[in-house]
Protein backbone atom coordinates (compact mmCIF):
# COMPACT_ATOMS: atom_id res chain seq x y z
CA UNK A 1 0.00 0.00 0.00
CA UNK A 2 1.32 3.44 -0.86
CA UNK A 3 2.28 5.55 2.14
CA UNK A 4 -0.42 8.01 3.19
CA UNK A 5 0.04 11.55 1.99
CA UNK A 6 0.44 14.06 4.77
CA UNK A 7 -2.04 16.91 5.02
CA UNK A 8 -1.18 20.39 6.29
CA UNK A 9 -2.99 23.67 6.90
CA UNK A 10 -1.58 26.46 4.74
CA UNK A 11 -4.16 29.23 4.94
CA UNK A 12 -6.62 30.71 7.42
CA UNK A 13 -9.39 33.28 7.17
CA UNK A 14 -11.70 34.59 9.85
CA UNK A 15 -14.79 36.74 10.21
CA UNK A 16 -15.72 36.03 13.81
CA UNK A 17 -17.03 37.76 16.87
CA UNK A 18 -13.46 38.04 18.20
CA UNK A 19 -11.87 39.39 15.05
CA UNK A 20 -12.12 39.72 11.30
CA UNK A 21 -8.54 38.71 10.52
CA UNK A 22 -5.97 36.25 11.78
CA UNK A 23 -3.93 38.72 13.84
CA UNK A 24 -6.94 40.11 15.69
CA UNK A 25 -8.26 36.62 16.39
CA UNK A 26 -4.91 35.52 17.79
CA UNK A 27 -4.67 38.63 19.97
CA UNK A 28 -8.20 38.03 21.28
CA UNK A 29 -7.43 34.39 22.09
CA UNK A 30 -4.25 35.34 23.90
CA UNK A 31 -5.81 38.20 25.85
CA UNK A 32 -9.09 36.32 26.46
CA UNK A 33 -10.99 39.20 24.86
CA UNK A 34 -14.53 38.06 24.11
CA UNK A 35 -16.76 39.15 21.23
CA UNK A 36 -20.12 39.00 22.97
CA UNK A 37 -22.37 42.05 23.08
CA UNK A 38 -25.97 43.01 23.72
CA UNK A 39 -28.21 42.45 20.70
CA UNK A 40 -31.81 43.54 20.17
CA UNK A 41 -33.46 40.69 18.25
CA UNK A 42 -37.06 41.84 17.94
CA UNK A 43 -37.15 45.60 18.41
CA UNK A 44 -37.60 47.71 21.52
CA UNK A 45 -41.31 46.85 21.81
CA UNK A 46 -40.67 43.11 22.01
CA UNK A 47 -37.97 42.49 24.58
CA UNK A 48 -36.94 38.84 24.42
CA UNK A 49 -35.34 36.66 27.05
CA UNK A 50 -32.31 36.30 24.78
CA UNK A 51 -30.27 39.47 24.95
CA UNK A 52 -26.68 38.80 23.82
CA UNK A 53 -24.79 37.30 20.90
CA UNK A 54 -21.27 36.91 19.59
CA UNK A 55 -21.68 39.80 17.21
CA UNK A 56 -19.91 40.38 13.89
CA UNK A 57 -18.26 43.78 13.86
CA UNK A 58 -17.64 46.14 10.90
CA UNK A 59 -20.27 44.48 8.71
CA UNK A 60 -23.84 45.70 8.31
CA UNK A 61 -25.99 42.97 6.80
CA UNK A 62 -29.24 43.81 8.55
CA UNK A 63 -31.08 44.35 5.26
CA UNK A 64 -32.08 41.50 2.96
CA UNK A 65 -30.95 43.74 0.09
CA UNK A 66 -27.28 43.31 -0.80
CA UNK A 67 -27.10 46.86 -2.09
CA UNK A 68 -27.58 48.09 1.50
CA UNK A 69 -24.77 46.02 2.99
CA UNK A 70 -21.49 47.46 4.14
CA UNK A 71 -18.26 45.59 4.81
CA UNK A 72 -14.76 46.51 5.94
CA UNK A 73 -12.45 48.45 3.63
CA UNK A 74 -9.99 46.32 1.72
CA UNK A 75 -12.59 44.11 0.08
CA UNK A 76 -14.09 44.94 -3.30
CA UNK A 77 -17.07 43.04 -4.65
CA UNK A 78 -19.14 43.75 -7.75
CA UNK A 79 -22.95 43.56 -7.71
CA UNK A 80 -23.00 40.26 -9.56
CA UNK A 81 -20.92 38.72 -6.75
CA UNK A 82 -23.18 40.01 -3.97
CA UNK A 83 -26.65 39.74 -5.52
CA UNK A 84 -27.12 36.04 -4.70
CA UNK A 85 -25.53 35.97 -1.25
CA UNK A 86 -26.97 35.63 2.21
CA UNK A 87 -25.22 37.62 4.96
CA UNK A 88 -23.05 34.62 5.80
CA UNK A 89 -22.13 34.37 2.12
CA UNK A 90 -20.58 37.82 2.36
CA UNK A 91 -18.67 36.82 5.51
CA UNK A 92 -17.51 33.66 3.74
CA UNK A 93 -16.37 35.56 0.67
CA UNK A 94 -14.23 37.82 2.87
CA UNK A 95 -12.79 34.97 4.95
CA UNK A 96 -12.05 32.86 1.86
CA UNK A 97 -10.20 35.75 0.25
CA UNK A 98 -8.12 36.00 3.44
CA UNK A 99 -7.35 32.27 3.47
CA UNK A 100 -6.38 32.18 -0.20
CA UNK A 101 -4.08 35.17 0.25
CA UNK A 102 -2.66 33.63 3.43
CA UNK A 103 -1.91 30.38 1.60
CA UNK A 104 -0.36 32.40 -1.25
CA UNK A 105 -2.49 30.64 -3.84
CA UNK A 106 -2.79 32.24 -7.25
CA UNK A 107 -6.17 32.50 -9.00
CA UNK A 108 -4.94 29.84 -11.43
CA UNK A 109 -4.17 27.45 -8.55
CA UNK A 110 -7.53 28.13 -6.89
CA UNK A 111 -9.36 27.16 -10.06
CA UNK A 112 -7.17 24.31 -11.20
CA UNK A 113 -8.49 20.76 -11.23
CA UNK A 114 -6.58 19.88 -8.06
CA UNK A 115 -8.44 22.36 -5.84
CA UNK A 116 -11.83 21.63 -4.26
CA UNK A 117 -14.15 23.64 -2.06
CA UNK A 118 -16.10 22.03 0.79
CA UNK A 119 -18.47 24.16 2.79
CA UNK A 120 -21.11 24.06 5.46
CA UNK A 121 -23.83 26.35 6.66
CA UNK A 122 -27.44 26.04 7.66
CA UNK A 123 -28.48 28.17 4.71
CA UNK A 124 -30.21 31.44 5.47
CA UNK A 125 -33.57 31.39 7.21
CA UNK A 126 -33.40 35.20 7.05
CA UNK A 127 -33.22 35.33 3.25
CA UNK A 128 -35.72 32.50 2.87
CA UNK A 129 -38.14 34.32 5.15
CA UNK A 130 -37.73 37.50 3.09
CA UNK A 131 -38.10 35.89 -0.31
CA UNK A 132 -41.05 33.72 0.67
CA UNK A 133 -42.77 36.80 2.09
CA UNK A 134 -42.21 38.61 -1.22
CA UNK A 135 -43.45 35.59 -3.14
CA UNK A 136 -46.62 35.16 -1.09
CA UNK A 137 -47.24 38.89 -1.31
CA UNK A 138 -47.07 38.99 -5.11
CA UNK A 139 -50.32 38.17 -6.96
CA UNK A 140 -48.68 35.71 -9.35
CA UNK A 141 -46.24 34.44 -6.63
CA UNK A 142 -43.27 35.01 -8.90
CA UNK A 143 -40.93 36.11 -6.10
CA UNK A 144 -37.44 37.05 -7.16
CA UNK A 145 -34.85 35.11 -9.17
CA UNK A 146 -32.21 35.23 -6.40
CA UNK A 147 -34.50 33.70 -3.77
CA UNK A 148 -33.37 30.10 -4.04
CA UNK A 149 -29.65 30.54 -4.55
CA UNK A 150 -29.23 33.00 -1.70
CA UNK A 151 -31.12 31.08 0.92
CA UNK A 152 -31.20 27.31 0.68
CA UNK A 153 -28.62 25.04 2.22
CA UNK A 154 -25.87 24.94 -0.36
CA UNK A 155 -25.91 28.69 -0.96
CA UNK A 156 -22.23 28.79 0.03
CA UNK A 157 -21.30 26.17 -2.56
CA UNK A 158 -23.25 27.83 -5.34
CA UNK A 159 -21.81 31.25 -4.70
CA UNK A 160 -18.23 30.56 -3.60
CA UNK A 161 -17.71 27.84 -6.18
CA UNK A 162 -18.77 30.24 -8.90
CA UNK A 163 -16.91 33.25 -7.53
CA UNK A 164 -13.59 31.43 -7.14
CA UNK A 165 -14.07 29.37 -10.33
CA UNK A 166 -13.64 26.09 -8.46
CA UNK A 167 -13.10 23.16 -10.84
CA UNK A 168 -11.89 20.31 -8.63
CA UNK A 169 -15.06 19.66 -6.64
CA UNK A 170 -17.69 21.78 -4.94
CA UNK A 171 -19.93 20.30 -2.26
CA UNK A 172 -21.51 20.87 1.12
CA UNK A 173 -21.84 19.11 4.46
CA UNK A 174 -24.82 19.09 6.78
CA UNK A 175 -24.62 17.65 10.29
CA UNK A 176 -25.74 20.65 12.33
CA UNK A 177 -22.98 21.88 14.65
CA UNK A 178 -20.57 19.18 13.48
CA UNK A 179 -20.91 20.20 9.80
CA UNK A 180 -17.69 22.06 9.14
CA UNK A 181 -15.72 19.47 11.12
CA UNK A 182 -17.13 16.82 8.82
CA UNK A 183 -16.06 19.00 5.89
CA UNK A 184 -12.51 19.15 7.27
CA UNK A 185 -12.41 15.42 7.88
CA UNK A 186 -13.53 14.47 4.40
CA UNK A 187 -11.24 17.12 2.91
CA UNK A 188 -8.32 15.50 4.71
CA UNK A 189 -9.31 12.09 3.32
CA UNK A 190 -9.66 13.38 -0.25
CA UNK A 191 -6.17 14.87 -0.14
CA UNK A 192 -4.77 11.68 1.40
CA UNK A 193 -6.37 9.64 -1.38
CA UNK A 194 -4.64 11.84 -3.93
CA UNK A 195 -7.86 13.13 -5.45
CA UNK A 196 -6.98 16.76 -4.76
CA UNK A 197 -3.88 18.72 -3.79
CA UNK A 198 -5.86 21.14 -1.70
CA UNK A 199 -9.35 21.73 -0.36
CA UNK A 200 -10.67 25.09 0.76
CA UNK A 201 -12.95 24.36 3.72
CA UNK A 202 -15.52 26.99 4.62
CA UNK A 203 -17.88 27.23 7.57
CA UNK A 204 -20.24 30.20 7.84
CA UNK A 205 -23.48 31.23 9.48
CA UNK A 206 -25.83 34.19 9.55
CA UNK A 207 -26.27 35.96 12.86
CA UNK A 208 -29.74 37.47 12.95
CA UNK A 209 -33.13 36.91 14.50
CA UNK A 210 -34.23 34.28 12.00
CA UNK A 211 -31.00 32.29 12.40
CA UNK A 212 -30.82 32.34 16.17
CA UNK A 213 -34.12 32.93 17.89
CA UNK A 214 -35.64 29.56 16.85
CA UNK A 215 -33.14 28.03 19.30
CA UNK A 216 -34.85 30.02 22.06
CA UNK A 217 -37.90 27.77 21.66
CA UNK A 218 -35.65 24.80 22.41
CA UNK A 219 -34.47 26.49 25.61
CA UNK A 220 -30.95 26.16 24.23
CA UNK A 221 -29.96 29.84 24.58
CA UNK A 222 -28.85 31.62 27.71
CA UNK A 223 -31.07 34.40 28.97
CA UNK A 224 -28.17 36.13 30.66
CA UNK A 225 -27.94 39.76 29.70
CA UNK A 226 -24.33 40.14 30.84
CA UNK A 227 -21.93 39.90 27.88
CA UNK A 228 -19.01 39.40 30.27
CA UNK A 229 -20.44 36.23 31.80
CA UNK A 230 -23.12 34.91 29.44
CA UNK A 231 -21.00 32.26 27.72
CA UNK A 232 -19.24 30.13 30.32
CA UNK A 233 -18.62 26.59 29.11
CA UNK A 234 -17.89 24.03 31.84
CA UNK A 235 -18.86 26.52 34.57
CA UNK A 236 -21.39 25.50 37.19
CA UNK A 237 -23.49 28.48 36.09
CA UNK A 238 -23.73 27.52 32.41
CA UNK A 239 -27.34 27.88 31.36
CA UNK A 240 -27.44 27.89 27.55
CA UNK A 241 -25.32 28.98 24.63
CA UNK A 242 -24.70 32.43 23.21
CA UNK A 243 -25.33 32.42 19.46
CA UNK A 244 -22.88 33.73 16.95
CA UNK A 245 -22.13 33.69 13.23
CA UNK A 246 -19.47 34.76 10.74
CA UNK A 247 -17.15 32.64 8.64
CA UNK A 248 -14.00 30.60 9.11
CA UNK A 249 -11.90 29.17 6.29
CA UNK A 250 -8.97 26.78 6.19
CA UNK A 251 -6.87 25.72 3.23
CA UNK A 252 -5.92 22.06 3.64
CA UNK A 253 -3.16 20.96 1.33
CA UNK A 254 -0.91 18.00 0.68
CA UNK A 255 2.47 18.47 2.33
CA UNK A 256 4.12 17.91 -1.07
CA UNK A 257 2.12 20.70 -2.67
CA UNK A 258 2.87 23.08 0.21
CA UNK A 259 6.57 22.25 0.01
CA UNK A 260 6.62 22.70 -3.77
CA UNK A 261 5.03 26.12 -3.33
CA UNK A 262 7.44 26.94 -0.48
CA UNK A 263 4.62 27.75 1.91
CA UNK A 264 5.12 27.23 5.63
CA UNK A 265 2.17 25.29 7.07
CA UNK A 266 0.50 26.24 10.32
CA UNK A 267 0.11 22.63 11.39
CA UNK A 268 -0.45 19.11 10.20
CA UNK A 269 -3.85 17.47 10.21
CA UNK A 270 -3.03 13.99 11.43
CA UNK A 271 -6.50 12.60 10.90
CA UNK A 272 -10.01 12.48 12.20
CA UNK A 273 -12.86 10.21 13.23
CA UNK A 274 -16.58 10.37 13.75
CA UNK A 275 -19.34 8.52 15.55
CA UNK A 276 -23.06 8.71 16.21
CA UNK A 277 -24.79 8.59 19.58
CA UNK A 278 -27.93 6.74 18.46
CA UNK A 279 -29.59 8.33 21.43
CA UNK A 280 -31.60 11.55 21.08
CA UNK A 281 -32.62 14.23 18.61
CA UNK A 282 -31.11 17.19 20.42
CA UNK A 283 -29.38 15.92 23.57
CA UNK A 284 -26.04 14.17 23.61
CA UNK A 285 -25.70 10.83 25.34
CA UNK A 286 -25.49 11.86 29.02
CA UNK A 287 -22.11 10.21 29.50
CA UNK A 288 -20.79 11.19 26.09
CA UNK A 289 -20.60 7.59 24.87
CA UNK A 290 -20.62 8.63 21.23
CA UNK A 291 -17.86 11.15 21.71
CA UNK A 292 -15.80 8.54 23.55
CA UNK A 293 -16.05 6.28 20.50
CA UNK A 294 -15.06 9.10 18.16
CA UNK A 295 -12.05 10.03 20.30
CA UNK A 296 -10.83 6.42 20.50
CA UNK A 297 -11.32 5.94 16.76
CA UNK A 298 -9.35 9.11 16.11
CA UNK A 299 -6.47 7.87 18.25
CA UNK A 300 -6.46 4.51 16.45
CA UNK A 301 -6.55 6.27 13.09
CA UNK A 302 -3.66 8.53 14.03
CA UNK A 303 -1.74 5.88 15.95
CA UNK A 304 -1.80 7.96 19.14
CA UNK A 305 -2.55 7.34 22.79
CA UNK A 306 -4.43 9.75 25.07
CA UNK A 307 -1.12 10.57 26.74
CA UNK A 308 0.17 12.03 23.45
CA UNK A 309 -2.44 14.82 23.49
CA UNK A 310 -1.48 18.19 24.94
CA UNK A 311 -4.63 20.22 24.32
CA UNK A 312 -8.30 19.54 23.65
CA UNK A 313 -10.37 22.31 22.09
CA UNK A 314 -13.76 21.23 23.39
CA UNK A 315 -17.09 21.65 21.66
CA UNK A 316 -18.64 22.75 24.99
CA UNK A 317 -21.21 25.41 24.12
CA UNK A 318 -22.21 26.42 27.66
CA UNK A 319 -25.30 24.21 27.88
CA UNK A 320 -25.42 22.07 31.02
CA UNK A 321 -26.24 18.79 29.21
CA UNK A 322 -23.69 19.26 26.42
CA UNK A 323 -20.84 20.45 28.61
CA UNK A 324 -21.35 17.66 31.14
CA UNK A 325 -21.56 14.93 28.50
CA UNK A 326 -18.35 16.15 26.90
CA UNK A 327 -16.57 16.49 30.24
CA UNK A 328 -17.53 12.93 31.16
CA UNK A 329 -16.35 11.68 27.76
CA UNK A 330 -12.99 13.44 28.25
CA UNK A 331 -12.64 11.92 31.72
CA UNK A 332 -13.40 8.46 30.34
CA UNK A 333 -10.87 8.74 27.54
CA UNK A 334 -8.11 10.78 29.16
CA UNK A 335 -8.37 10.73 32.95
CA UNK A 336 -9.01 7.00 33.12
CA UNK A 337 -5.91 6.50 30.96
CA UNK A 338 -3.83 8.66 33.27
CA UNK A 339 -3.58 11.50 30.77
CA UNK A 340 -4.31 15.14 31.54
CA UNK A 341 -4.30 17.40 28.50
CA UNK A 342 -5.33 21.02 28.89
CA UNK A 343 -9.01 21.38 27.95
CA UNK A 344 -10.73 24.59 26.95
CA UNK A 345 -13.76 25.77 25.06
CA UNK A 346 -13.12 28.94 23.10
CA UNK A 347 -16.87 29.46 22.87
CA UNK A 348 -16.55 31.34 26.15
CA UNK A 349 -15.01 34.06 23.97
CA UNK A 350 -16.82 33.63 20.67
CA UNK A 351 -20.25 32.29 21.49
CA UNK A 352 -21.48 29.37 19.39
CA UNK A 353 -21.56 29.87 15.62
CA UNK A 354 -23.39 26.59 14.97
CA UNK A 355 -22.17 24.76 11.86
CA UNK A 356 -19.09 26.94 11.46
CA UNK A 357 -17.76 26.20 14.93
CA UNK A 358 -15.66 23.22 13.79
CA UNK A 359 -13.84 25.22 11.13
CA UNK A 360 -13.44 28.22 13.42
CA UNK A 361 -12.00 26.14 16.24
CA UNK A 362 -9.75 24.17 13.88
CA UNK A 363 -8.44 27.56 12.78
CA UNK A 364 -7.83 28.50 16.41
CA UNK A 365 -5.97 25.21 16.93
CA UNK A 366 -3.81 25.90 13.89
CA UNK A 367 -2.93 29.33 15.30
CA UNK A 368 -2.20 27.85 18.72
CA UNK A 369 0.10 25.25 17.17
CA UNK A 370 2.09 27.68 15.05
CA UNK A 371 2.26 30.50 17.57
CA UNK A 372 2.67 28.38 20.71
CA UNK A 373 -0.21 28.98 23.09
CA UNK A 374 -3.12 27.16 24.69
CA UNK A 375 -6.36 29.18 24.86
CA UNK A 376 -7.95 29.39 28.29
CA UNK A 377 -11.54 28.99 29.46
CA UNK A 378 -12.99 32.46 29.53
CA UNK A 379 -15.55 33.16 32.26
CA UNK A 380 -14.89 29.89 34.04
CA UNK A 381 -15.26 30.53 37.76
CA UNK A 382 -16.39 27.30 39.39
CA UNK A 383 -16.24 24.19 37.20
CA UNK A 384 -19.27 21.94 36.97
CA UNK A 385 -18.76 18.83 39.11
CA UNK A 386 -18.76 16.73 35.92
CA UNK A 387 -15.38 18.31 35.12
CA UNK A 388 -13.59 16.90 38.16
CA UNK A 389 -10.03 15.97 37.33
CA UNK A 390 -9.88 17.86 34.02
CA UNK A 391 -7.18 20.49 33.50
CA UNK A 392 -9.24 23.58 32.62
CA UNK A 393 -6.88 26.56 32.36
CA UNK A 394 -8.59 29.89 33.12
CA UNK A 395 -6.03 32.00 31.32
CA UNK A 396 -4.30 31.39 28.02
CA UNK A 397 -1.01 29.58 28.52
CA UNK A 398 2.02 30.60 26.51
CA UNK A 399 3.22 27.08 25.86
CA UNK A 400 3.36 24.90 22.77
CA UNK A 401 0.28 22.68 22.90
CA UNK A 402 1.76 19.56 21.30
CA UNK A 403 -0.83 17.27 19.74
CA UNK A 404 -4.21 18.99 19.59
CA UNK A 405 -7.69 17.48 19.44
CA UNK A 406 -10.76 19.48 18.41
CA UNK A 407 -14.24 18.11 19.17
CA UNK A 408 -17.54 18.95 17.52
CA UNK A 409 -20.98 17.54 18.14
CA UNK A 410 -24.31 18.19 16.46
CA UNK A 411 -28.01 17.39 16.72
CA UNK A 412 -28.87 13.77 16.26
CA UNK A 413 -25.71 12.72 18.06
CA UNK A 414 -23.10 13.43 15.36
CA UNK A 415 -19.60 13.56 16.83
CA UNK A 416 -16.41 14.53 15.02
CA UNK A 417 -12.88 14.57 16.39
CA UNK A 418 -10.10 16.30 14.45
CA UNK A 419 -6.43 15.76 15.32
CA UNK A 420 -3.66 18.25 14.60
CA UNK A 421 0.08 18.29 15.24
CA UNK A 422 2.87 20.87 15.07
CA UNK A 423 4.59 21.28 11.71
CA UNK A 424 7.29 20.32 11.17
CA UNK A 425 6.72 17.28 13.37
CA UNK A 426 8.86 17.22 16.51
Amino acid sequence: MAPQRRVVITGLGFVTSIGNDRATVEASLRAQRHGIARMDFAGPDRPLGVKVAGTIKDFDTASPHWSKWTYPPGYRFLPNSLRSLAPHGLYALCATEQAIADARLTPAQVSDEATALFSSSAGSAFMLHHFLSVMHDTPDMRGTPMGVVSSITGTLNFNLGTYFKIRGANCGFVSACASSSHALGYACDEIRLGRFERVIVVGAEDLNTDALIPFMSMKALTESGDPDRASRPFDRGHDGFVGSGGAAVLVLESAESAAARQVTPYAEMLGWAQSADGFNLAMPHPEGEGLVRALRRAFRTCDLTPADVGYVNAHATSTPQGDRAEALALRTVFTEAGAQPAVSSTKGLTGHPLSMSGAMEAGFCALALREGFVPGNAHLEEPDEACAGLDLPRETRTVAPGIVVSNSSGFGGSNVVLVFAPWPAA
Binding site: S63, H65, W66, S67, K68, L78, P79, N80, R83, S84, D137, R142, T144, P145, M146, V149
Partner: protein
Protein backbone atom coordinates in the same frame (compact mmCIF):
# COMPACT_ATOMS: atom_id res chain seq x y z
CA UNK B 1 -47.30 50.23 -21.19
CA UNK B 2 -49.62 49.16 -18.40
CA UNK B 3 -52.77 51.16 -17.73
CA UNK B 4 -53.19 53.09 -14.48
CA UNK B 5 -55.25 50.28 -12.97
CA UNK B 6 -52.60 47.68 -13.92
CA UNK B 7 -49.73 49.57 -12.33
CA UNK B 8 -48.07 48.14 -9.26
CA UNK B 9 -49.66 49.72 -6.12
CA UNK B 10 -47.64 52.57 -4.64
CA UNK B 11 -46.95 50.73 -1.41
CA UNK B 12 -45.56 47.75 -3.31
CA UNK B 13 -43.51 50.02 -5.56
CA UNK B 14 -41.99 51.62 -2.48
CA UNK B 15 -40.90 48.15 -1.29
CA UNK B 16 -39.47 47.26 -4.69
CA UNK B 17 -37.48 50.49 -4.73
CA UNK B 18 -35.96 49.93 -1.30
CA UNK B 19 -32.67 48.43 -2.59
CA UNK B 20 -32.09 51.40 -4.94
CA UNK B 21 -30.48 54.78 -4.19
CA UNK B 22 -32.77 57.75 -3.46
CA UNK B 23 -32.06 59.52 -6.76
CA UNK B 24 -33.15 56.44 -8.68
CA UNK B 25 -36.30 56.14 -6.57
CA UNK B 26 -37.13 59.76 -7.40
CA UNK B 27 -36.79 59.04 -11.11
CA UNK B 28 -39.26 56.18 -10.86
CA UNK B 29 -41.79 58.29 -8.97
CA UNK B 30 -41.36 61.06 -11.56
CA UNK B 31 -41.95 58.58 -14.36
CA UNK B 32 -45.03 57.24 -12.63
CA UNK B 33 -46.50 60.77 -12.45
CA UNK B 34 -45.42 61.88 -15.93
CA UNK B 35 -43.91 59.19 -18.18
CA UNK B 36 -41.40 60.47 -20.71
CA UNK B 37 -38.78 58.84 -22.95
CA UNK B 38 -36.06 60.90 -21.28
CA UNK B 39 -36.84 59.67 -17.77
CA UNK B 40 -37.32 56.13 -19.06
CA UNK B 41 -33.77 56.21 -20.46
CA UNK B 42 -32.41 57.30 -17.08
CA UNK B 43 -34.32 54.57 -15.26
CA UNK B 44 -32.93 51.94 -17.62
CA UNK B 45 -29.41 53.21 -17.03
CA UNK B 46 -30.10 53.12 -13.29
CA UNK B 47 -31.20 49.49 -13.47
CA UNK B 48 -28.05 48.67 -15.42
CA UNK B 49 -25.95 50.48 -12.81
CA UNK B 50 -27.62 48.49 -10.02
CA UNK B 51 -26.75 45.20 -11.68
CA UNK B 52 -23.44 46.13 -13.25
CA UNK B 53 -21.94 48.57 -10.76
CA UNK B 54 -18.56 49.96 -11.68
CA UNK B 55 -18.19 47.56 -14.61
CA UNK B 56 -21.27 49.13 -16.17
CA UNK B 57 -19.98 52.62 -15.50
CA UNK B 58 -16.61 51.85 -17.11
CA UNK B 59 -18.10 50.07 -20.10
CA UNK B 60 -20.78 52.69 -20.56
CA UNK B 61 -18.21 55.47 -20.55
CA UNK B 62 -16.34 53.71 -23.36
CA UNK B 63 -19.11 52.20 -25.46
CA UNK B 64 -22.24 54.19 -24.62
CA UNK B 65 -25.33 52.38 -25.89
CA UNK B 66 -23.21 49.68 -27.55
CA UNK B 67 -22.48 48.07 -24.16
CA UNK B 68 -23.38 44.37 -24.44
CA UNK B 69 -25.39 42.89 -21.58
CA UNK B 70 -23.86 39.41 -21.60
CA UNK B 71 -20.40 39.85 -23.09
CA UNK B 72 -19.43 43.18 -21.49
CA UNK B 73 -21.41 43.09 -18.25
CA UNK B 74 -21.52 39.33 -17.63
CA UNK B 75 -25.27 39.40 -17.00
CA UNK B 76 -26.57 35.85 -16.68
CA UNK B 77 -30.08 34.46 -16.93
CA UNK B 78 -30.91 35.36 -13.31
CA UNK B 79 -29.86 38.96 -13.83
CA UNK B 80 -31.88 39.18 -17.03
CA UNK B 81 -34.95 37.84 -15.23
CA UNK B 82 -34.41 40.33 -12.40
CA UNK B 83 -33.98 43.11 -14.94
CA UNK B 84 -37.22 42.13 -16.70
CA UNK B 85 -39.12 42.20 -13.38
CA UNK B 86 -37.73 45.65 -12.65
CA UNK B 87 -38.67 46.96 -16.10
CA UNK B 88 -42.21 45.79 -15.46
CA UNK B 89 -42.39 47.24 -11.95
CA UNK B 90 -40.69 50.59 -12.63
CA UNK B 91 -41.64 51.28 -16.25
CA UNK B 92 -44.72 49.15 -16.72
CA UNK B 93 -43.33 47.26 -19.73
CA UNK B 94 -43.21 43.48 -19.83
CA UNK B 95 -40.11 41.88 -21.35
CA UNK B 96 -40.74 38.25 -22.20
CA UNK B 97 -37.78 35.91 -21.93
CA UNK B 98 -38.10 35.19 -25.63
CA UNK B 99 -37.48 38.90 -26.27
CA UNK B 100 -33.96 38.74 -24.83
CA UNK B 101 -32.28 37.17 -27.86
CA UNK B 102 -33.22 40.36 -29.71
CA UNK B 103 -31.85 42.57 -26.92
CA UNK B 104 -28.08 42.30 -26.82
CA UNK B 105 -27.01 45.85 -26.02
CA UNK B 106 -28.05 48.72 -23.80
CA UNK B 107 -29.19 50.60 -26.89
CA UNK B 108 -31.41 47.70 -27.96
CA UNK B 109 -32.86 47.47 -24.46
CA UNK B 110 -33.58 51.20 -24.41
CA UNK B 111 -35.21 51.02 -27.86
CA UNK B 112 -37.30 47.98 -26.96
CA UNK B 113 -38.67 49.56 -23.80
CA UNK B 114 -39.21 52.94 -25.44
CA UNK B 115 -41.14 51.38 -28.31
CA UNK B 116 -43.36 49.48 -25.89
CA UNK B 117 -43.88 52.44 -23.56
CA UNK B 118 -44.33 55.09 -26.25
CA UNK B 119 -45.57 53.30 -29.37
CA UNK B 120 -46.71 56.51 -31.02
CA UNK B 121 -43.29 58.14 -30.62
CA UNK B 122 -41.38 54.99 -31.55
CA UNK B 123 -40.83 55.95 -35.18
CA UNK B 124 -39.40 59.33 -34.24
CA UNK B 125 -36.94 57.94 -31.67
Amino acid sequence: MKSESEKIPEEKLREKLEPFPPEFQELVWTYRRAPSPEVLAKIVNGIMDYHGGEVFREQHAQKQDAVRLVEDLAFDSLTLVDLSFQAEEFIGVVIQLEDFPKIKTLGELQAFLRAKAFPAAGAAC
